[in-house]
């Protein structure tokens, strides 16, 4: 797709960035102590903290990734929303108040509160760093995705802008500025997403979507006989049934010197040919889109309804509808989704996107992305493992847990979690309408579905697009700043201060945190550039798997099993980290990143949580049982000191 930059979008972007930087410099004057830098002084109101939770949590993965996944895979994308939200129940019922009671600045503080163990300080800090980095990657990728339509700049520039701005936010006022940036971003995200959904419902559904005044591309259909003689003059076959295209169910034609690829559907008269979209990767790495350079705009945005039915009647448009009537009409209609196939055409690799008309009730149930229908054991395992990771991951994310230190009491920690559940739950309901709106409004860029939500806004006009894109950028800023606070706390507080025992003044601790923030920011920029093109929600799924495996067993067992020892916790974190990260690194999806075929990967599943979480629990129990004498010595020392 080709984007045209709007001066309004650029102006709003500059306003957002200036506002958060101004806020950070203002708050920096009040941030001189370690308490204020790492925990905003512990005086944030519970409602503010609750909305900030939403601002922290509703990352690029939620806004860009989930909407993009729903737009292309329907209900399966929404499964992420449901799993993420369910995870907040673990946070509220089991973790919120104890975290507030036990910790000071970092997640490690809470785990180490009973022990003063070097092993816990080291392993928990490493875990915090790794989880934060895993979570940072999709945020930075999201920033790169946004900057192209917003400012007309390449991916890497977007990553660098976010990296630099966020590093300044964190390095000036730490958790104080981060909290208020997240509060404003969370509130604006909810308001503006609601506005877009109102637009979607007010416009209703149509078989001929209009994208910002432009009519939807009319995808052609041709008829050919069994020998592939096309019934429309001028078309000649370039690659027929015996070619690689033919074997994959396609045919390549040429007309007036322009090549096109068509999807073959056998019928009584021979074949019905449906127009496709295709991207060709040449040996030198350059890409063409429908046989032309990207700038020529021949790779059309897609997403439409083939047959629209309301109350059993086929209609062309519904007009304005309510939310339930909207979903009900979609359920009864036939929606055109898009399949994807890779074909080797000599030295070129061609990615062909073809139409797949699908019943609406099939789109609004699981199974288009996740292999759950007639699934093999491995496919079922993969699905259950992902849902487990989403459920267990939230309460184990260090950048979320440290928000509990910013409120004054346990009751405030609890109430802020409830505000977060309300805000995040409401947003996740909106994602279903945003995603389905993108699916049926002709706005999907098949080469990068992360842009579906902003492009949906663009279909309603440049003003809404400008606001949503700028807001999406702010979304990245809010989440990344929380991640960098968590990571810099792990380096400066857990490793330098506690583990290495470096004697630092209060001001020295703040300085160490700021320097750490700059280093983490540089690493985030590098990773954001090299991971360009991956779905951001998919990457966050991995961060959740690592957090759920390395951190949650340790937190829960510390709170609910009195025989937990320091060595048990350290072993649990180590086993959880190694088993989850190790499996991710040899997973089929990573094999593709290494340049191999996914089928050549040593394991056949992508989500490790169903193995790594039980392993982490097992390691904790076994090592704790073997080191019970440490617990007795520890208890005796505490009693003697009392």
């Amino acid at each position: 797709m080709v984007y045209t930059q709007s001066p309004l979008a650029i102006g709003l972007f500059i306003f957002f960035v200036s506002f958060v930087l101004g806020l950070s410099f203002y708050l920096a004057r009040r941030t001189s102590s370690a308490d204020s830098y790492y925990a905003a002084g512990g005086n944030i109101h519970w409602f503010t903290n609750g909305v900030a939770f939403a601002g922290d949590y509703l990352s690029a993965a939620s806004f860009l990734g989930i909407c993009g996944m729903i737009a292309t895979a329907g209900y399966d994308g929404w499964m992420y929303s449901i799993g993420y939200l369910a995870g907040w129940i673990v946070a509220l019922f089991l973790v919120a108040e104890p975290m507030k009671r036990l910790g000071k600045y970092t997640f490690t503080d809470a785990l180490d509160s009973k022990f003063n163990s070097k092993a816990i300080q080291l392993t928990a800090a490493i875990s915090t760093l790794l989880v934060s980095v895993f979570y940072l990657i999709p945020q930075m990728v999201g920033a790169g995705v946004l900057v192209q339509p917003l400012l007309g700049l390449p991916h890497w520039v977007g990553v660098c802008i976010v990296g630099v701005v966020v590093t300044i936010i964190v390095a000036t006022a730490g958790m104080a500025s981060t909290t208020y940036v997240q509060f404003f971003k969370g509130a604006l995200l909810l308001i503006m997403s609601t506005v877009v959904v109102i637009y979607v419902l007010t416009q209703g559904l149509s078989t001929s979507p209009v994208n910002n005044g432009q009519a939807y591309h009319d995808f052609k259909t041709l008829q050919a006989d069994a020998a592939l003689n096309v019934n429309e003059a001028g078309y000649n076959v370039v690659a027929g049934l015996d070619s690689e295209f033919g074997k994959a169910g396609f045919v390549k034609l040429v007309k007036d010197g322009v090549e096109s690829i068509w999807h073959l559907n056998q019928n009584d008269q021979g074949f019905r040919l449906e127009e496709t979209l295709f991207m060709t990767k040449l040996p030198d790495g350059t890409k063409t889109f429908n046989g032309a350079a990207k700038e020529e705009g021949k790779f059309f945005p897609v997403g439409h309804i083939k047959e629209l039915r309301v109350n059993g009647q086929e209609v062309a448009t519904t007009g304005a509808v309510g939310p339930l009537a909207y979903l009900s009409a979609l359920k009864d209609s036939t929606i055109v989704l898009w399949g994807k196939k890779y074909i080797h055409d000599g030295a070129n690799t061609v990615t062909v996107y073809y139409q797949k008309p699908t019943p609406g009730d099939r789109v609004l149930r699981p199974g288009l992305k996740f292999k759950v229908d007639n699934a093999t054991g491995t496919q079922t395992f993969n699905f259950v493992s992902l849902m487990l990771a989403l459920f267990c991951g939230t309460a184990a994310l260090p950048h979320i847990l440290i928000r509990y230190y910013t409120v004054p009491s346990q009751a405030a920690a609890r109430k802020s979690t409830i505000v977060a559940i309300a805000a995040i739950g409401f947003f996740y309901i909106l994602t279903l309408f945003l995603g389905m709106g993108a699916m049926t409004n002709g706005v999907i860029n098949l080469t990068d579905n992360n842009m579906s939500a902003p492009l949906l806004a663009l279909s309603f006009g440049v003003v809404l697009f400008s606001i949503i894109s700028s807001l999406a950028f702010a979304t990245v800023l809010g989440t990344v700043s929380g991640l960098i606070v968590a990571a810099s706390g792990a380096v400066a507080h857990d490793l330098m201060d506690n583990f290495l025992g470096m004697r630092m003044t209060d001001a020295g601790k703040v300085r160490a945190g700021k320097i750490s923030a700059v280093v983490v920011g540089c690493i985030a920029i590098y990773l954001g550039i090299i991971f360009e093109g991956m779905n951001v929600s998919f990457l966050v799924g991995w961060a959740f798997a690592v957090a759920a495996s390395a951190n949650l067993p340790a937190i829960l067992m510390l709170l609910f099993w009195k025989r937990t020892t320091a060595k048990g916790i350290a072993a649990s974190i180590t086993v959880g980290l190694i088993s989850s990260l190790g499996r991710i690194l040899i997973s089929p999806d990573m094999w593709v990143r290494y340049g191999y075929l996914p089928t050549e990967a040593p394991i056949s599943f992508n989500s490790p949580a169903l193995i790594s979480i039980p392993l982490s629990f097992l390691a904790l129990v076994m090592v704790s049982m073997m080191t019970q004498k440490d617990l007795i010595i520890n208890d005796a020392t505490e009693t003697a000191g009392a």
Partner: protein, 88 residues
């Protein structure tokens, strides 16, 4: 070692009550979530059946999100009451 909360916390005599209540409510919600995942994994076509004019999958999704909020409010109500009773 620099641990302990960043602000001074008062004594909370309701802590044990809140922990027990939290565990019970966590188990209740988790059971519902497990049933949801199990149906999706073993019988996804069930999720295509129509309930209240929508697919069962959509009803389950709204239900899980709504249930989380309702249970959170109930939990807070009982916790706040316990804090008022036990910490006064």
């Amino acid at each position: 070692m620099g641990h302990g909360p960043a602000v001074k916390l008062g004594k909370d005599d309701a802590s044990a009550y809140k922990t027990k209540l939290g565990v019970k409510m966590f188990i209740a919600y988790t059971l519902v979530y497990v049933v949801f995942v199990a149906i999706n994994a073993t019988s996804p076509k069930t999720m295509q059946s129509i309930v209240l004019g929508q697919t069962a999958a959509v009803i389950w999704g709204f239900g899980l999100i709504g249930l989380a909020l309702v249970m959170a409010i109930i939990y807070n109500h009982f916790c706040t009451r316990a804090e008022a009773r036990m910490n006064s």
